[in-house]
């Protein structure tokens, strides 16, 4: 992050010579376990099971997972390359439905496969690795740019320091190839003055309690956890200067799909005049979605609500057996409730004239 002086000690993935090594986010903060993926199937399963998560990062992971798959197949049975690649791309693109970055990254890789059809297997692998590296580098640069744009926008409106920023889920270095989207903005603010972060614990996967707390603590930033239920009252109390979150998909009209719970935060911000900021790279924008109603919302398994994993690996049941649960993993916040959408190209405030995508491109 030499572009802005921002940095992080958090390293969510390393790709080297056909092997993708992922920091297993299911085991944080208790253990820093590395999950090794040398196939598309393993990478898709890591994405599906939330070992790796965060809209920008799952795009990057899918791209490198395809590189791993291409290396593996090229070495063992180069004749099967086309069929294997096609299956791998489909499997990765559909591992999770809501974040558009995932299918967008796979589409870029598919394009490389198509335009290198005449080349040798080794050449094609090299081209795929260059493309995956470019996807990651662009995401890193986007994080740095968003951090600067977001911090500028917030500081131009906030009348006081220290600033208190409330965030939801984890939209940080653990969710991107760089310093994060929402937490990149936090890092940029912290580089310019005192910042206190209030992090929603973000049930059921506890991205806030487990990941955001770990990431900010590791980088020496101040963080206090809130039960998700306490966010509205905390916003009402006047203690929050701004809410900043990431996004998994943004529709053409500016409606934002993000981790479930985001919509409730936006309602509380609107009721109390607190700016509600979404930071997300343009890879999160989906020109094919006219509005939030067209964004597919992932429903995850009820067991992820009904149980909690213990640090020792057992599963602890929270509720009586036989009870069911409903777990939409994302919700949609209407464009009108979002004070600003920050991308690597700048800041857009609603109403987004003639749609957000043309405005930003």
């Amino acid at each position: 992050m030499t572009e802005t002086g921002l940095s992080t000690r958090v390293v969510p993935y390393v790709y080297e010579a056909g092997r993708l090594r992922l920091l297993d986010q299911r085991r944080l903060p208790h253990e820093e376990t590395i999950l090794e993926c040398d196939s598309a199937a393993q990478t898709a399963e890591a994405i599906r099971s939330l070992a790796v998560r965060g809209a920008p990062l799952i795009g990057v992971a899918a791209a490198f997972g395809l590189c791993a798959e291409a290396r593996r197949v090229a070495a063992r049975s180069p004749g099967d390359l086309e069929a294997a690649r096609e299956a791998a791309m489909t499997r990765l693109a559909t591992a999770r439905p809501t974040a558009v970055n995932l299918s967008a990254a796979v589409a870029r890789m598919r394009h490389v496969v198509e335009r290198t059809a005449a080349r040798t297997p080794a050449d094609r692998v090299a081209a795929l690795e260059r493309e995956a590296g470019a996807i990651a580098a662009e995401d890193r640069a986007a994080c740095a740019a968003m951090a600067r744009f977001g911090a500028d926008w917030i500081l131009s409106r906030a009348g006081r320091t220290p600033l208190t920023v409330l965030t939801h889920c984890n939209a940080g270095a653990l969710a991107t190839a760089g310093v994060g989207t929402a937490l990149g903005v936090v890092r940029a603010l912290a580089a310019r003055g005192e910042v206190r972060v209030l992090a929603d614990e973000t049930r059921p996967f506890l991205q806030g309690a487990r990941l955001t707390a770990w990431e900010l603590q590791r980088d020496g930033l101040s963080v206090t956890l809130l039960p998700d239920v306490a966010a509205a009252a905390t916003i009402a109390s006047g203690r929050v200067d701004v809410v900043v979150v990431g996004a998994d998909r943004i529709a053409r009209n500016g409606d934002v799909a993000n981790k479930v719970g985001t919509y409730g935060l936006a309602l509380a911000c609107r009721a109390h005049g607190v700016p509600f900021v979404v930071a997300a790279p343009t890879t999160t924008l989906d020109p094919d979605c006219p509005d939030g109603g067209a964004i597919p919302i992932e429903f995850r398994d009820a067991d992820e609500v009904l149980t909690i994993p213990s640090p020792t690996g057992e599963t602890i049941r929270l509720s009586p057996s036989g009870v069911s649960a409903l777990y939409p993993a994302f919700d949609v916040t209407p464009a009108a409730l979002v004070s600003a959408i920050v991308t690597e190209r700048g800041v857009s405030e609603p109403p987004h004239a003639s749609g957000l995508v043309p405005h930003l491109s």
Copy 2:
């Protein structure tokens, strides 16, 4: 509950001859453990530690805890009765700050102590036990009346069956001496047609996941859990016909303090035109509080957010050590967001002319 045909198999307390036996709600749903209290100190600790909880029930428990204390002291050192009673009443009344039912029940018991000053210790114990019994009987009757009034109000507005009711925390038989406040209304609705309950899990104590699920399942009612973060999106989806919650204290203007998370639900209901109903006995009304700003909000220990108890009794840490948390246990919902307040005297809709208390008394 022969008054309405409503009933429950849930028995949260039994008082007999100087011994208060409480169903330990910290151990539900995994174990049905009975906590025996034969002193005010034990009862106050049971209230403070949430072994017994729910605004109406902690008033009832405190009243019987005083009876246990009076029996104990009368048997062992009748000369110390006055001093012991005074200390016991203060300890019980201050065990938790937000629910006004607690201090109101203790005030009733104090009045009995004062007006029986000239009688024998045995007579005074009997008078205290009669008063505690009356407090419980009145709460039981209030639950039955609220159930009827609440169900009438909801059915007069709901255009369809089956009805889907969303609730927060536990405002049921585990929170009262009767069929519950919000869950009493649910039971009355279920007696008249099909009702599906969506229960917020209610972090951090998980009253929804542990208690409401257990209670409704035990009584054969349909219940599905929601992560708290999913409530706003579920309300936005049109799947919720009405939200019904209890209250810990209601100010003169109709502002409602209830389990933290209630305010966010009320905002979501307002945004989507879903009725937001509060069911609470008049013992929850505080004529000394002009509005919600005057209601004391309990902040509980951060460790209750940072850890989770396992069924085997160990404490599981959710976040990295060294991270802090903020845990306001209640929040305040402004009167204007509450569609109806249901008490045992009837239903009041805002604006509550000349204050809610005179309107209802």
